[in-house]
């Protein structure tokens, strides 16, 4: 049927356009990192890996990644812990003001991040706290905990809490109930939540700008060096950063795979 063939072609073109639009900027960054000029121009007169050599030699590269990683891991820990407790509170208990609290907790997500960052900075200076990577963790958490709570809640939707009582009734101890029933039900949500928390913190700029103080996370450095003092070092470090975060996500996936096989 020729109509079907037309539709197939339209589908191919459509999907191709979307994929190109998604990946073209990433490819351009990789291309930009292979130049040796201070101005973005294409095609390059000289193709070189100099920028990567400079990045590898520069201690800043490690520092930037370590700070971002430090923040992201702390945010993952805090938001998964609080998000799990919050999601369980929704799933398990029917308390007064439950739906109001549910709305209140997602409100920070709608608040523009630069304003939120500024507000947090002002509050911290009022309290006499010097901004550093630790205050950035707090700032990220304010924005990310609600998202993680939401993600875990969604995965927990439909979880019948009576399962825990049934297990207890069938002779399981409190600890066995947690291990056999509660954790397996929570685990997919915790995993998605952790992934969200990590990626949102790793790439966050507007909150870090105000709250990280003298410590510079990766996106902040990329932003300031692109605005002033650009060199191919910037896209090179951006590419390295992408690989590092990709590696960490793969690591998380591998851990999940391993845990899934064990049960």
């Amino acid at each position: 049927m020729s109509g079907g063939r037309h539709i197939l072609w339209l589908k191919v073109i459509w999907v191709g356009t979307v994929v190109t639009a998604l990946y073209l900027p990433i490819v351009s960054v990789i291309l930009a990192s292979l130049a040796n000029t201070r101005y973005m121009r294409f095609p390059h007169r000289v193709w070189t890996l100099d920028a990567y050599r400079a990045a590898a030699a520069d201690y800043t590269t490690v520092t930037l990644h370590m700070i971002s990683l430090q923040i992201a891991l702390c945010v993952v820990l805090v938001s998964v812990l609080l998000g799990t407790i919050g999601a369980m509170a929704y799933a398990r208990y029917d308390w007064k003001g439950r739906s109001l609290f549910q709305r209140l907790i997602v409100l920070p997500i709608f608040f523009p991040q630069p304003v939120l960052g500024l507000a947090l900075l002002l509050s911290m200076s009022a309290l006499g706290i010097a901004p550093s990577w630790k205050t950035a963790v707090v700032a990220h958490a304010v924005w990310i905990v609600p998202i993680v709570t939401l993600v875990i809640s969604i995965r927990l939707f439909g979880y019948d809490v009576a399962q825990e009582e049934a297990a207890f009734d069938l002779g399981a101890s409190r600890w066995q109930v947690a291990r056999e029933i509660t954790l397996p039900a929570l685990w997919p949500g915790i995993f998605s939540g952790a992934l969200f928390a990590f990626l949102l913190s790793w790439s966050n700029l507007p909150l870090s700008v105000y709250t990280s103080g003298a410590d510079t996370p990766l996106p902040l450095w990329l932003f300031s060096r692109t605005a002033t003092n650009y060199s191919p070092l910037v896209p090179a470090i951006a590419v390295i950063g992408t690989f590092v975060s990709g590696l960490i996500v793969l690591l998380l996936l591998a851990v999940r795979q391993l845990l899934a096989r064990r049960t």
């Binding site: 009582e165 297990a167 207890f168 009734d169 069938l170 002779g171 056999e180």
Partner: protein, 345 residues
């Protein structure tokens, strides 16, 4: 003849939630091997009561004895009882087999033995053996019921509790499962304590029925006693459609207030008359003229909705020549006073 000790003895069992008393001073013996059903409307405290019996909640006051041993403070996981929950509460990330084996796994029973026992239980609840590895999420409503039952039996309990497990099942399947549950009770010889809001369901399965209302038992008896000799309008109305006639004593001699008929011997304030006790034609008993307002065919019986004066009544007649009446006709209806159950409240 010495009676065996009761399986479960409730002594002044009370549960309060704040100022609300859900279970109000209940004392009762449940015999070994009995199918005991507690019937009540929602909010009557029947679920709160069964949670106390299962050990999922502790009573505010009162004691609970299992074959003479005080188990009031023993938590659910150390009681030799198991519950089939209203939501069934199947472990949905596990297979049918893993669900059934759960209690045995917690006890540390070796895998091979667990599996053999699980397959036995599958047969007992009439599920094919190849359901063993199937995820419970792939089971139909009726199959899930059977898995929940097999899982509860998997802990080899002395007493099984059922918290309205059939309430979400459609009528025909419910009827099948009721009969199967009764047969299972007879085969296993275990004590079953069953909660439901349907007296009809209770009638089919139970040895004894307790009607519960606001935390107390209104009446306890065999299905026959509950049906024939309800002790209050509340119990009588639970059975579905029933005629309740108030007795008036204002004119000196007692009479049926609404029908304006004398009631010479009236030992109660209300007369409960089953629809099948009311029939067309005047017999030796009291009779009155009534208008047929509705005629419903119920298969083997025909139901007539009647109006006598200001009173609406229901009569049921076996299909046949006596059910030839049509809507709009007026006919004489009568009843035998011996069929009346007298109640005071």
């Amino acid at each position: 003849m010495a009676l065996p000790p009761p399986a479960l003895t409730l002594t002044g069992l009370t549960k309060r939630f704040g100022s609300k008393t859900a279970v109000d001073d209940i004392s009762l013996d449940i015999r070994d091997g009995e199918f005991f059903t507690i019937v009540g409307p929602s909010g009557s405290g029947k679920s709160s009561l069964v949670r106390l019996l299962a050990g999922l909640d502790t009573p505010t006051t009162g004691r609970l004895h299992l074959r003479g041993t005080d188990i009031t403070e023993v938590p659910a996981n150390r009681r030799p009882t198991a519950m089939v929950f209203q939501s069934l509460a199947l472990f949905d990330h596990r297979s049918v087999g893993q669900n059934i084996e759960f209690a045995m796994k917690m006890k540390g029973v070796p895998q091979a033995e667990r599996r053999a026992r699980a397959l036995d239980l599958l047969r007992l609840v009439r599920l094919p053996e190849d359901y063993y590895p199937r995820p419970v999420t792939q089971c139909s409503g009726g199959e899930r019921q059977r898995v929940a039952l097999a899982r509860a039996l998997g802990s080899d309990p002395e007493i099984l509790f059922f918290d309205e497990p059939l309430s979400a099942i459609d009528y025909r399947l419910r009827k099948t499962l009721e009969v199967e549950l009764k047969e299972l009770h007879q085969r296993t010889g275990k004590t079953f304590i069953y909660i439901t809001h349907s007296l009809e369901e209770a009638m089919v399965m139970s040895d004894r029925i307790a009607i519960m209302r606001t935390g107390r038992f209104e009446q306890i008896g065999t299905p026959d006693e509950i049906y024939r000799r309800p002790n209050s309008r509340f119990v009588a109305s639970f059975m579905g459609e029933v005629n309740i006639l108030e007795i008036s004593r204002t004119k000196g001699t007692p009479h049926f207030a609404d029908l304006d008929l004398p009631a010479p011997q009236a030992p109660g304030a209300f007369a409960v008359l089953r629809p099948e006790a009311l029939s067309p034609g005047a017999g030796e008993g009291p009779s009155f003229d009534a208008l047929v307002t509705q005629k419903l065919m119920l298969g083997s019986r025909t139901q007539f909705h009647l109006r006598a004066g200001n009173t609406a009544l229901i009569a049921e007649v076996a299909a046949g020549p006596r059910s030839a009446l049509e809507v709009g006709q007026t006919a004489r209806f009568g009843f035998d006073p011996a069929d009346i159950a007298w109640v005071d409240s």
